[in-house]
Symmetry: D2
Subunit: 336 residues, 4 copies
């Protein structure tokens, strides 16, 4: 998802930090490089599509890294760049007291922390462990409890923004954890993202991301349904979009990321739904929303329906298309 999804103007009153909002943003680099001399190594576990550019941004800001990934190939590049590559999360924890994890699933996160060679086997007291994976908030809470038992600190900090934002250092981080540690987390996360938002206790970072993406999925499908219905009733798509956008139907999916080809430029719908935020990823996030809703006994009529629709789309050949392709999915195959 484009970093811009999370970047609409200054949200006054939020206790968050945004490089963009500060004209003095350049000073961050200054601050960062100034402190290079004293920088202690940062551990990084999970060097996939997202983790790789994120770790590189930490390097750019002068942090020496201690690297681990289950796939040794993923570490090669870093080894060649002179970073330390070790053979388990436990070894990372032995050599670094600030660690960032960026993993695909709850299971992977549990393994990295609590597994036989997990972080917890050798974590040092006072360490700061930041998990940027998007996982079930109840798992984040469980991990936090275990980390706390070891005298260390855990924060969940899932990201918004895709590979592009990861490369350009424009991710948004939603951070959950003890507020006193937020500044310490921000120091690292600010090297990789342009927005670092404090959300509350552990798990609330995940919660904020999940809730946003669930609402996003719902309003995207809603926009696609309304646009499709309007077109069939004889409305011009551009005109309908304008009417919606000046009215109470307005939403990010209608005014910034319209799913109907021809309505907007520079969005996935203008490019055959290439790029953007993949349907598979949306289905994954909706699965987490579903799990969280089941756990907390929260009714999510439309959220669960959105989940099924994106699930079905994955089965019907849309898995790699942008999630706005739900408009295409709804159209008659004959007519589109």
């Amino acid at each position: 998802m484009a970093a811009s999804l999370w970047l609409r103007g200054a949200a006054s009153g939020l206790r968050y930090w945004s490089r963009r909002q500060r004209p003095a943003a350049a000073s961050l680099a200054a601050v960062c490089s100034r402190s290079v001399a004293s920088k202690t190594p940062v551990g990084f576990i999970g060097l996939g599509n997202m983790g790789n550019p994120m770790a590189k941004n930490l390097m750019k800001h002068g942090y020496p890294l201690v690297i681990y990934d289950v796939f040794p190939d993923a570490c090669k590049e870093f080894r060649e760049a002179g970073e330390q590559v070790v053979s388990s999360p436990a070894d990372v924890a032995e050599k670094a007291d600030r660690i960032i994890t960026m993993l695909p699933t709850s299971m992977n996160a549990i393994e990295a922390y609590s597994g036989a060679n997990g972080i917890l086997k050798k974590v040092k007291k006072g360490s700061l462990l930041i998990d940027s994976s998007t996982i079930d908030p109840s798992v984040s809470k469980e991990l936090a409890k275990e980390v706390e038992k070891m005298g260390a600190v855990f924060m969940d900090a899932p990201v918004s923004g895709g590979v592009g934002a990861a490369r350009s250092g424009n991710l948004t981080f939603m951070v959950g954890g003890v507020e006193e540690e937020f500044a310490a987390a921000k120091e690292l996360l600010g090297c990789m993202g342009s927005n670092v938002v404090y959300c509350g206790a552990v798990g609330t970072g995940q919660a904020a991301k999940i809730c946003n993406n669930m609402l996003l999925a719902i309003s995207m499908i809603g926009t696609a349904e309304a646009m499709n219905l309007g077109i069939r009733l004889g409305l011009d798509p551009k005109l309908l979009a304008k009417i919606l956008n000046m009215s109470s139907g307005r939403c990010w999916s209608s005014d910034t990321y319209n799913p109907v080809p021809g309505v907007m430029d520079g969005v996935p719908s203008a490019n055959n739904y290439q790029g953007g935020f993949g349907t598979t990823l949306m289905a994954k996030d909706l699965g987490l929303a579903q799990d969280s809703a089941t756990n907390t006994k929260s009714p999510i009529f439309l959220g669960s329906q959105a989940h099924q629709i994106y699930r079905m789309m994955c089965a019907k050949g849309y898995s790699k298309k942008d999630f706005s392709s739900v408009f295409q999915f709804l159209r008659e195959e004959e007519t589109f």
Copy 2:
């Protein structure tokens, strides 16, 4: 619904007319009063909660009225004010060549036009018949055909904005019909509303309204589900709203009309869901969306679900509350 639902800034490129957007708005009154002398009577059928203040605004602009309502009491006030009250739609059509109808259902509209004493029995060639009822667009099209056979012109012009906007003359009209007649319609509608938007052929006014309100219902329920889930996951409601509003989950329901008590001032959720846009009315509009979708074979997964939810709310005591009370409906009864 507050007139502001339809009034967010100038939507460039729209062929619509807005008193608000024109600093010279005052000149309208001037124009209106200037032409009082030559004003021919305007027929008005349906003097209910909405029709009553609308008709009065026409009077204020100097139009003599020819009035009809199935409930004679509804006409009393106008008779006392010196307006002409007649005993059937046909009689209205005999005495006025511009007629506005404002009726609750498709059936009522059909009766007023095609009934035994309907407009069509005595309509004059060249008459302009504007139906401001919110009805099935396919019915609008049928009526237009019959009207056309009589050599007259039909336009559908459903309104957005509730009784308050009707009183203050700040309704929005979505107009469908032959484009050449739009100026003539605008002359009258501009006396009752601050936005008059041209949408295309007959039926598209209804279509635009229905599509907007369906998307509105979906994003309102989505916002309520996301806010409720987030709160249960430990997020502060105000903080969550701010995060959504700076992110891709942003929508009118989250940033302008938030359904969670305590998040915003001046919205129905701040006032025990009094006022605003009633759940019954939303259920009615979703019924029209459903009918239109069935007729045009358009899949509306979330739209039909939203319909069922508002239908259920009507059955559970929420019929007179604002439609944002869906948040309350989703909460545990114990905790709210």
Copy 3:
């Protein structure tokens, strides 16, 4: 749909008539032929896929016919067989005092009854008008009112059972109308069907059909979802079907018409979903259920969802397959 859908054993207490249930069924033919001499002509309007074999069964039972169809070609066969073909529904009404209509939509039925050359223009007092079309029950009620004004009798009698059942005279008729006239209707309907069930006042025939088919759609989709989920969880499909069928999940869709290939013989799922009850027809019936639910303000959460799913299937190439192909629709395309 196979006639057997409606034929499970004797439903004690039902005021209905079944050729199958009576060992003396043969006597019907006797009764029928006995009265041949005195048989007055029966009107038949709508000689499509269903109407054609139904009319032929009336002929077989010795009823002279008065035929009309909007497509003259549809009448050719009957003209050649010596039946009277006329040029409008009105003309049918002039020559026959018992008329059966079998039309595809509510609109067609309205036209045949109330159109410029409709039945009502020349209907004789005391005529019996039986509409076997599947249409909106509220339309049936409207037609009944108009028919009653002319001093005639209207009954709705939609059928269950497809073209095969129509040919073999094994349709089921669900009949709504004045109970005193049921015997008269049964005389004719019994020539075309093996079950004639009295449902209550006008419209209840349609209501019974719509409610049954809505529940059928829901339980078919539910069966497909449960079977698919079970298979993915490692269960053998045949074993799972047996478990469901001995348990509380049992339904007609699981025990008589299982949608999973390989579980049962002689059903559409065993034959690549050929034959049976087409997805388009199911989508149509669900549209009627939806309309009826909207009109009566009845919440149908699953019914409306089922409607959307069959609507979507029509758009994705399943329109001519049996409605049990929803199982195929739910499967990953890669794996099926």
Copy 4:
């Protein structure tokens, strides 16, 4: 849920064992008592509403028990009856090589097996561990792996049938695990239930139960929707039920457990929805179905909707009513 839910006639071809189906059922007791002398103790963990009567049935069949429950009070009765009560699952495993667990959630099961004082700490090689809890099948599989590592055997055997069936020994067990061990499991389970069905590999017992209950929930809601719609359209409830039951809409919820008061005797709807299978339990099972569907990426449009509906009912005061009370939930409050 009444044991009869799972007991409709002999399902030929099923590799299952049913006391009811065998006229020689009495011989089981014979077999059981004959072997009393040599019976080794059976461990039982979880003596709640269900576990308590189940354990007593084992006692009746002559098995000495080794008992553990987190609530000491739950063990009192058994201690007084002379059974051995120990202080942890590990201690049970030390003293018994056949153990049955009956726990409310996946978490409880994980704790009982893998916790600090869990079964796995002291389990003997060759032990047979049978988990009758209803939990996520993926958890069953995980537990089975861990158990296997210790050289023991794990089977999942969730039950159908409520407290009444547990008391009378008429539960149905759905068993997943290595087929060669099925006979051994059957020996114990047959003392507590009248049906013991072999479903396949570990986890398929849970899968079968989850799939059945999901389909049950869907067809119950579908029945309630269809009955409610039909009633509003003017059909007599009893007549409509009969029509459905002789037609393709027929299902267990319509013909055996009809949710409409006055249609059937001896079902919860005839008794103000007292007794039966509680809405909370159905919501729990649907949560497991949802989790399993998410894990296996299976679309369950209606299943997830059913989950939300039962979730909502729990929030609206229906938690302790039978799950057929969804009919009541759908009705207008004014009219019911």
